[in-house]
Symmetry: C2
Subunit: 278 residues, 2 copies
């Protein structure tokens, strides 16, 4: 697995880099961003994985969230992958919510998606192995994300007990099986049998989670997708029923944008750093 | 002068807004961004004007610099205008360094530019009047910017003694009369007579500045335009010769991007806040 560094920019005393590599799980060339804080020059550090939302690439988080300042403060490496397989050979669809830029962090089982859309395997196995082989990291991992990426962070953490020490999400899709974005994507990637959807649905997974990893979720109350696509009260009800620790904060006035993420990413990174460095 | 608010987003306890208005000095519809920190809900605050670089609109600074966090911390309003007149009636040129997105903060005197390209008047007179009539601001003003906008900040501050209490710049074009970007733009906007260029050239203006306002300039030493377009040593020499206070910091490893700005904008806003609130 060879990495090619295609961006290398000084930032907050460390380096904001972007790498390209051939992905075996996705069968295409992929890019991911990695922020190495100044401490990475001399020691191994924990890693926080960030999963982005619909339409995003590895660029959105690193240019708009302002996370690097806090990562430098706490000594945490940030890794931000792309949101789907890429390239001319990869199936796509009209619309921003299916196909490229909309991988939904699942392993697709249906044609034409199954050939490349295996973002779950990429995120859980291939990318961490790549990071751990090529960067000065400890085995302490956290995971976070926004919207579709918040769904990815919650489901991947819930499905892999012991693998992540901390998890958080901004404006996550908590119940993809019950909202239009999820129904469209899961119907295409996983087929019509809704039983198969449950393995990638946080509200379903939380019922039987074997590890009670605390969830931190921030949600803006002026989010244009709050009532139709996000429905955080479904997560609250499921967590309450299961006795799963959840801190759900409804932030007054905030919308679905990166202005919201930038406003609270410092608190999320502090939350992860506390779990990752103790 | 009627403002239409076209974006309104909660951020760091305040509001990141964008307004549109008919500009009398430019003869077209213009947009500017304004960040109102939480303190603006109850008191008047000083204003820091930010001038962006080539190709930018009012969006780049507000999405990429991470400045709002520091503005909220210090209680400073941020105003980020566009970089040129806009619209189908406005003359343009091939290339990113002349015409739309490249106003260079001058009043053009040559056809076809003179009809709309009066960014100097817009920045010095029209926009501050608009801000002071519509937002809770004191008369304490600072000015900063990046690259072409760093040139704008330095020249506007030097040309208007008493108007700004603080000035700073990132990677500024300090001697437009002596570098390719400036020669192309000034030749088009101001004509072939290089005497006319001196009124918009920081290295020329510093010689006879009637007010010795201290200049804070940050410059990355890995900036791809350092040797060809920026040449900060020319500013250092002119400041030394004139006895003008200049803090020029060469930042090792940093390039020309917003990753550089984001890394040091906190120090610049602290610098301005100190001058603006005491």
């Amino acid at each position: 697995m060879t990495l090619q560094r295609i961006e290398h920019r000084a930032m907050h005393g460390g380096w904001q880099d972007v790498h390209e590599h051939a992905s075996s799980s996705l069968g295409c060339t992929m890019r991911f961003a990695v922020y190495l804080p100044p401490q990475a020059a001399t020691q191994k550090l924990p890693v926080l994985y960030w999963l982005s939302g619909l339409t995003c690439t590895e660029q959105n988080f690193i240019t708009k969230a302002g996370a690097q300042r806090y990562a430098a403060e706490h000594g945490v490496i940030l890794v931000a992958p792309d949101t789907s397989p890429r390239g001319d050979d990869v199936a796509d669809a009209d619309g921003y919510d299916l196909g490229k830029g909309a991988g939904f962090y699942v392993n697709a089982t249906q044609a034409p998606w199954a050939a490349h859309y295996r973002m779950y395997d990429y995120l859980v196995d291939e990318l961490p192995a790549l990071i751990e082989a090529n960067f000065p990291v400890t085995d302490a991992r956290g995971i976070s994300g926004h919207s579709m990426g918040g769904h990815g962070a919650l489901t991947i953490a819930l499905k892999n007990p012991g693998r992540y020490r901390s998890v958080s999400a901004f404006s996550p899709i908590v119940a993809p099986s019950q909202v239009p974005w999820g129904e469209k994507a899961f119907g295409a990637y996983l087929g019509d049998d809704r039983e198969a959807w449950k393995q990638y649905d946080a509200v379903e997974l939380i019922r039987n989670a074997s590890e009670r990893l605390p969830l931190l979720v921030d949600q803006g109350d002026a989010d244009e997708f709050l009532q139709t696509q996000l429905k955080p009260t479904l997560l609250q009800a499921a967590a309450d029923a299961a006795g799963h620790p959840l801190t759900l904060r409804l932030q007054p006035g905030y919308d679905h944008s990166y202005y919201f993420i930038a406003s609270f990413i410092g608190e999320h990174i502090a939350h992860h750093a506390k779990a990752l460095t103790t």
